[in-house]
């Protein structure tokens, strides 16, 4: 009898000792999502050496969703629906003693309408967009803004004229990015201006592209440019063609075109990677006048070295405004300047504050 009592007490105590060894089991809503995920966290002490997490299914049975020996951890359950309670059970084992304990928890996933962690991003976006819109409206109302000379863009006329004189074509490469790359779009907007001038000067323009979507857009751009220049009859769709999706296959194709067709002027405007120097040097060896523009920082030096003119970074995006001299577009360039001023101010203030050991500004921009 005494043994039975002692055994009962020890089982009771070991249950509680195991239970009291379970320090934490929490379920919380995944922050700032559409209510389709919950985060389950547990922390146990070293006495418990394995655990199992179970979830109550619609049939009323607990199904194991996670099984581990980790004493602490976090898992995410994204098989949940918003505004519906989900029940979980944590079962803890101690292999040596064979004891186990169990904790039940439940949680309702919540849907959030706004992610407050992205507020700094929203503020910056509103500031920059607001400034750009302000300058566009000011420009529409007649205010004139100074824009410095961009020699690379001024030289386009000279390049087209040279091609016409020599009777050689112009080669235009809109980069190796697809149509979802903003640099490709920027390249195509310059192509529009270039094609108009080429049509007026009666110069041939060759546009090999890497992606089919860019092919469609480039053809449309050039066709409209020729129509605008009242030279729709001179437009040849076979001069704008697809080569290959492969990066170096594309480069090999362009090199072949350069060596065979001997264009008088080459334009490399868009996003480029390792092939930038291969294109530029091959173009140099054929004696063409070359203009390049890209926002890829590590390719700009190659273009600067090997090309006659280079558009660096934002000059590529400013090109359309510069060439068209449209008031609204020029106004938007002023917005770039505001953005730069804002960045410079934040950097200077941020550096001073960091040196002073004040981190609130850098913490604001720690967007999770």
């Amino acid at each position: 009898m005494r043994r039975v009592i002692l055994l009962t007490i020890s089982i009771f105590l070991s249950y509680f000792s195991l239970h009291s060894s379970l320090l934490e089991f929490q379920i919380r809503d995944f922050p700032w999502d559409d209510g389709k995920a919950l985060i389950l966290e547990w922390r146990l002490d070293a006495d418990s050496d394995s655990l199992r997490i179970q979830k109550l299914d619609p049939n009323g049975h607990y199904v194991t969703i996670y099984d581990t020996t980790k004493p602490s951890g976090t898992i995410m359950d994204d098989d949940v629906q918003p505004d519906e309670a989900f029940q979980y059970r944590l079962i803890v084992y101690n292999r040596a003693t064979g004891d186990s304990a169990m904790v039940d928890r439940s949680m309702v996933p919540l849907v959030q309408w706004y992610n407050t962690q992205k507020t700094p991003l929203l503020v910056m976006m509103l500031l920059l967009s607001g400034a750009t819109l302000y300058y566009i409206i000011a420009s529409k109302r007649g205010k004139e803004f100074f824009i410095r000379r961009i020699n690379a863009l001024d030289s386009m006329e000279e390049a087209i004229g040279r091609a016409t004189e020599k009777g050689k074509p112009i080669l235009f490469i809109p980069g190796i990015g697809d149509l979802d790359d903003i640099q490709t779009i920027a390249g195509l907007t310059i192509l529009s201006h270039l094609a108009t001038r080429a049509a007026q000067f009666d110069a041939d323009i060759i546009v090999p592209v890497r992606f089919s979507m860019v092919l469609t857009a480039a053809r449309e751009v050039v066709k409209e440019a020729y129509t605008r220049a009242e030279r729709a009859d001179a437009y040849r769709s076979d001069r704008i063609f697809y080569l290959t999706d492969d990066q170096f296959g594309y480069v090999a194709g362009i090199d072949g075109i350069m060596v065979r067709e001997q264009p008088a002027a080459n334009f490399f405007l868009g996003s480029f990677y390792a092939e930038s120097l291969i294109l530029a040097e091959t173009g140099f060896s054929t004696g063409a006048i070359q203009t390049a523009g890209t926002a890829m920082p590590h390719q700009i030096p190659f273009f600067v070295v090997a090309c006659d003119w280079t558009l660096i970074g934002e000059e590529l995006f400013a090109a359309s405004a510069y060439l068209s001299r449209d008031a609204q577009q020029l106004g938007s360039l002023k917005g770039h300047d505001f953005g730069k001023l804002l960045c410079i101010s934040l950097i200077v203030v941020g550096v001073i504050l960091e040196y002073a050991g004040i981190h609130w500004l850098s913490n604001i921009f720690n967007i999770g």
Binding site: D78, G177, Q247, Y273, A274, G287, I289, Q290, D308
Partner: protein, 320 residues
């Protein structure tokens, strides 16, 4: 720039010819120079080294054959290191040919010794064998003529898996962040993911200890940093071509957006040094070193010629 005349063309051909020899000769007759390890490569090494055994890790093969000479040695060393530490390697690719690149690396590393052909082992000739000494700048190649380790006991589906290629770059990574199993319901050979033991308990990117992207361009390392680290808080490291490497240095910051970077062949050679191997990257570094010197010599020659030309022009002007 004026049209390239015959004289200039011959100059270029001469330069190319000398450079070709400068690159070729050290490949045939390796010198055995070693390179210091930079802090960024050390960071990559430490990330792999300090991750506990049994962890699942992901390597994204975001390159193609053109950049294989720079990135494959990195891949070999990384998988070698990961397997030494007992990690489970999951391969994916954001480039279509990355699948093949991953298969090549796994095939080579799991080949049994009898399957290794003689031309896979660095072809080095030496009669001296000396103890490997980390302070030595020269490492006798014969010490590690067989330095590429083989793991013929590693089993597909248990120790490593190739999930294949998925287009979409950032969309794919975001989808993996939510659910890898839905993004890759089968591996590249069509085996359902549920039947692969290595994928047990791997549901989200957060279930991985770290991600390494071997990236030759876009999509690649930048997307992994932007999504896997910034959104899902998974540790990200990487290797890139030498040309792209400077562009990723800003991501190595106090927010740990990028935990180290291997840049080009030198980065791969540094990693091999940390691994204590004398692999393909270390051999090719000899060529790179000689090539750099040749280029510097030619730059000097170019400057001398330019200086003499300018002096002649000045003298001619003075005479007038």
């Amino acid at each position: 720039m004026s049209y390239i005349n015959t004289h200039v063309r011959w100059e270029r051909m001469t330069l190319f010819g000398i450079l070709f020899l400068a690159v070729m000769i050290p490949l045939i007759l390796p010198i055995g120079w070693r390179t210091d390890v930079s802090p960024h490569v050390q960071m990559v090494y430490d990330l792999v080294d300090k991750t506990p055994p049994g962890s699942a890790i992901l390597i994204s093969f975001d390159y193609e054959p053109s950049t294989m000479p720079e990135l494959k040695p990195m891949a070999m060393s990384l998988v070698d290191h990961a397997w030494q530490k007992g990690h489970k390697v999951i391969a994916v690719a954001l480039w279509p040919m990355g699948v093949q690149m991953a298969n090549d690396v796994f095939s080579e590393l799991t080949a049994s010794p009898s399957e290794i052909s003689s031309d896979e082992i660095p072809d080095v000739q030496t009669t001296d064998v000396k103890e490997k000494d980390e302070s030595d700048e020269m490492m006798t190649p014969a010490v590690s003529a067989n330095s590429i380790r083989r793991y013929s006991s590693k089993r597909y589906g248990i120790d490593y898996v190739n999930l294949g290629f998925k287009s979409g770059a950032m969309v794919t990574i975001k989808a993996m962040g939510r659910n890898i199993r839905e993004t890759f319901p089968t591996d590249t050979f069509g085996t359902p993911i549920d039947s692969l033991p290595i994928m047990d308990n791997i549901v989200h990117l957060r279930d991985l200890a770290y991600i390494i992207s071997l990236s030759a361009g876009d999509p690649g390392l930048k997307q992994w940093i932007m999504v896997a680290h910034d959104n899902f808080k998974v540790k990200v490291s990487g290797g890139t071509t030498a040309v792209s490497a400077p562009g990723f240095l800003p991501y190595i910051n106090n927010r740990n957006q990028l935990r180290g970077l291997m840049g080009g062949l030198k980065g791969a050679a540094e990693y091999e040094k940390l691994m204590g191997t004398f692999g393909p990257a270390s051999i090719k570094m000899d060529s790179q070193s000689i090539a750099h010197v040749i280029i510097l010599v030619f730059i000097a020659i170019g400057n001398v010629r330019s200086f003499r030309r300018r002096r002649k022009q000045r003298q001619a002007r003075d005479k007038e």
